[in-house]
């Protein structure tokens, strides 16, 4: 499988040859894991900056719930966790070769992911209306940067998920090969996990 990708764009090459045992997982999955390492460091820089700034000036943060709408975001968090569950279901359906279930669960994941972004847009609009903007002190700076970049990641995830769903509707994923579903799933769970950390430190503490 390692060579599969290279072979697709080059059929003058020799037939599939052997290779040295590598990581034991196929390229796309390994690549995604490695890429997620990079993503961890990206959020580390934002979260690290947040922690340092907040310890430097704790008085610049309003008590939890005073500015931010915690109940709405809690519901939104619940939505995102649900989308991780539907993602797991989609992957399980792909493994079973159950095309109908795969399509439904993927569609559900896309919809829930999109509504998470929708709720976040609504939340931003409300906050800006109240006068809470990125230039509103360190609180506004960190809040919008961190949640904004998370939202950007969810948006990218939703777009990729739409592509995977479209391919699922074309029957591209079989019980033996459903790499796209697994790889997007890794990304999706990661983004979900980051949100749980952000929700805790930005909204609840």
């Amino acid at each position: 499988m390692a060579h599969a990708h290279a072979l697709t764009h080059d059929d003058v090459m020799r037939p599939p040859a052997g290779r040295e045992p590598g990581s034991g997982v196929y390229n796309e999955k390994l690549g995604m894991w490695v890429f997620l390492g990079s993503e961890v460091m990206f959020f580390t820089s934002l979260i690290g900056a947040y922690i340092i700034l907040r310890f430097g000036h704790p008085e610049k943060w309003a008590p939890p719930g005073e500015v931010l709408n915690v109940p709405v975001t809690a519901v939104n968090t619940f939505l995102l966790i649900c989308s991780s569950v539907t993602m797991v279901k989609a992957f399980a359906s792909a493994q079973d070769g159950n095309q109908r279930a795969l399509r439904s669960w993927l569609l559900a994941t896309v919809l829930i992911g999109a509504s998470f972004v929708g709720v976040q847009v609504y939340e931003y609009a409300e906050l800006v209306h109240k006068g809470f903007v990125p230039s509103e002190g360190l609180y506004g700076s960190t809040f919008f940067t961190m949640t904004g970049f998370h939202g950007f990641h969810v948006t990218v995830g939703v777009l990729c998920m739409m592509f995977v769903t479209w391919r699922a509707f074309q029957g591209k994923y079989t019980a033996t090969d459903h790499r796209g579903v697994e790889v997007i799933g890794l990304y999706w769970h990661f983004v979900d996990l980051v949100w749980i950390i952000l929700f805790t430190i930005v909204y609840l503490i």
């Binding site: 080059d10 020799r14 040295e20 430097g56």
Partner: protein, 591 residues
């Protein structure tokens, strides 16, 4: 998983025969790692030239402050009216010389060019794990470079806060008068970071998963080990810079307060983030150089590399320790002095793996049968110059001495001994060494030697005296040293350095001409002109699309020069099967 060799991602686009591919798919939007490597080579040599030209203007101003620069009249009024460099333009020059050299010349030359070109060839793979992401990584780097160039032509001039972009100077446009230039600087580097990250996870996946049968980890050439560790550093360090740049960009454009003290933001936070990226970055700029020099020194000496295992461990140690030393850039910043002591110790410890590498290179040459081809000359010069850069680092690592020499020409000397004397000499070595593989022809060896000696002499004439300037307390990044009485006696040295710098720059024209002429007129190289052992030399020059007519099997390490097993030759290629060799266990493709 079962075989998926039949899985085709985009059949319509990808199915054409290699030779049928139209020009644009073959040479412009190519997914072939070799073409992408050469594209990176041309791009970064262009930016190397730009960076060098900026350095010439800097040197003119320092050697002859306030005098009209010959030919400087072509520059617009906002930069150098009548050829006299303005202080605001000088600050942009210093900033952009550093930025172009670090991010658009040395880093892509080492990682973009040789990471791309060498990894699949040296591990026996047909291409990268993700060829299209690889192509995208180049075509993302190009607009990043163009945006960075565009900054010179916008209102207010280009970024002028140093290549390190220290906040609040970089965050608050009122302090420099530069707003759009500084924003373009941020945007360009964010885009470049994305390109680097795409490259790095591709390299890592390729090296882990796509080695030819028998290419076990401890048979990898040191260049590949170094590129592997470098890719991990790029992967983990670049996103830190991206995060910091995004915050800086928001401070400039959205009115956030991350690094602006008025609302509680912290200027030192920028420095911590920048150097947490920046120190691994320093090793990104030297590890591949060390790896490729190791390959070339073993080849030139006709000897196995001395202490292969400790060389690998030293690369890993440098890569790991590199994460714990960033504070040594900040001894004078107001950081807690107790932290300074910790960072001093961790920094000094890095000299241990560096010394291991240096002595092992010498050990490789000891008892050798040394051939002084042009790559070998540059590689030996690398060792010699890197040692100077490494030793001068001890002065700055030592906190009390750093109090005096921090931000003086001593650091300018140090970093140029590492980045020019080190990285760039290694790049010259590597370009001349792998040029015949890339283009099928050799560069002219006589002109190669002339270029080498002129570069070596004038490089030292430029940068060695800078240690002395630093020892006299000469600050860096000052537009006019004659403002200070204690610097006045040093003006003669500054002028001598400037003249040497012009000669150094002129000598590079020889390389440029040789590089271009070799493409058309060089002698045919044949598959293995240096009689080397690496897998890339077991395939035609240049290698065909897909690299190897038959997947090579690997029977030994890459440095079996002068092996008693090689009866006729003094080298023994990794893929040459002797009667005593066993076939490696083969994992079938597609699983």
């Amino acid at each position: 998983m079962a075989s998926t060799a039949a899985v085709v991602h985009e059949p319509a686009l990808e199915h054409a025969h290699a030779d049928d591919r139209p020009f644009i798919r073959k040479y412009i939007f190519s997914t072939d790692h070799k073409i992408i490597g050469i594209q990176f080579l041309l791009m970064s040599l262009f930016f190397l030239l730009i960076g060098g030209m900026l350095a010439m203007v800097i040197r003119w101003q320092l050697g002859f402050p306030g005098r009209a620069m010959p030919g400087g009249g072509v520059l617009p009024e906002t930069m150098a009216p009548g050829g006299i460099v303005l202080p605001e333009f000088y600050n942009s020059l210093v900033t952009m010389h550093g930025t172009f050299m670090v991010f658009f010349a040395i880093m892509p030359l080492l990682v973009g060019v040789f990471g791309n070109y060498l990894i699949p060839l040296k591990i026996g793979a047909p291409d990268m794990a993700f060829p299209r992401i690889n192509m995208a990584s180049f075509w993302i780097a190009v607009p990043a470079g163009l945006i960075m160039l565009a900054g010179f032509f916008v209102e207010g001039g280009h970024a002028a806060a140093g290549w390190t972009g220290y906040a609040p100077l970089s965050a608050n446009p009122e302090l420099t008068g530069v707003s759009l230039g500084q924003q373009l600087w941020c945007v360009s580097l964010i885009i470049l970071g994305l390109s680097s990250i795409m490259g790095s996870f591709n390299y890592i996946t390729t090296i882990i998963n796509m080695r030819a049968p028998g290419m076990i980890w401890f048979r990898l050439p040191l260049s590949i080990w170094a590129l592997f560790i470098t890719a991990i550093l790029v992967l983990l360090a670049m996103p830190i810079l991206s995060g910091a740049l995004i915050m800086l960009l928001f401070d400039q454009t959205l009115g956030t307060h991350f690094f602006l003290p008025a609302q509680g933001g912290q200027p030192l936070l920028w420095q911590h983030l920048f150097w947490f990226f920046g120190h691994p970055e320093v090793y990104i700029l030297i590890l591949p150089a060390m790896g490729m020099v190791s390959d070339i020194i073993a080849n030139g000496s006709r000897k196995p590399i001395f202490g292969y295992t400790s060389m690998v461990l030293a690369i890993i140690a440098i890569g790991a320790l590199g994460w714990g030393v960033w504070g040594h850039h900040m001894f004078m910043s107001g950081m807690n002095p107790t932290l300074g002591t910790g960072f001093m110790i961790s920094t000094l410890l890095i000299s241990v793996p560096s010394a291991i590498k240096t002595f092992n290179w010498m050990g490789t040459m000891w008892g050798g049968n040394i051939r002084f081809h042009v790559p070998m000359l540059h590689a030996v010069a690398f060792v010699s110059m890197f040692v100077i850069g490494g030793l001068s680092g001890v002065f700055m690592a030592t906190t009390p001495v750093d109090i005096y020499i921090h931000d003086t020409y001593f650091i300018v000397a140090h970093l140029h001994y590492v980045l020019f004397g080190g990285s760039l000499f290694a790049i010259f070595a590597a370009v001349t060494f792998w040029y015949p593989k890339m283009f099928g022809r050799l560069m002219n060896p006589l002109w190669g030697k002339v270029h080498f000696w002129l570069t070596f002499i004038f490089f030292n004439a430029v940068f060695f005296p800078m240690h002395g300037l630093g020892a006299q307390g000469h600050m860096r990044r000052i537009y006019d040293p004659t403002e200070y009485e204690f610097l006045a006696p040093l003006q003669g040295v500054n002028r001598m350095i400037t003249i040497s710098a012009f000669l150094l720059f002129t000598a590079q024209i020889i390389f440029l001409v040789n590089f271009i002429a070799g493409w058309f007129k060089g002698a045919k190289a044949g598959p293995n002109p240096w009689q080397d052992n690496g897998l890339e030399w077991a395939t035609p020059s240049p290698p065909p699309h897909g690299n190897f007519p038959v997947t090579p099997h690997v029977y030994r390490g890459p440095y079996e020069f002068s092996s008693p097993l090689a009866v006729d030759d003094d080298y023994l290629p990794q893929s040459r099967k002797l009667e005593t060799d066993r076939e490696p266990a083969v994992l079938p493709a597609g699983d």
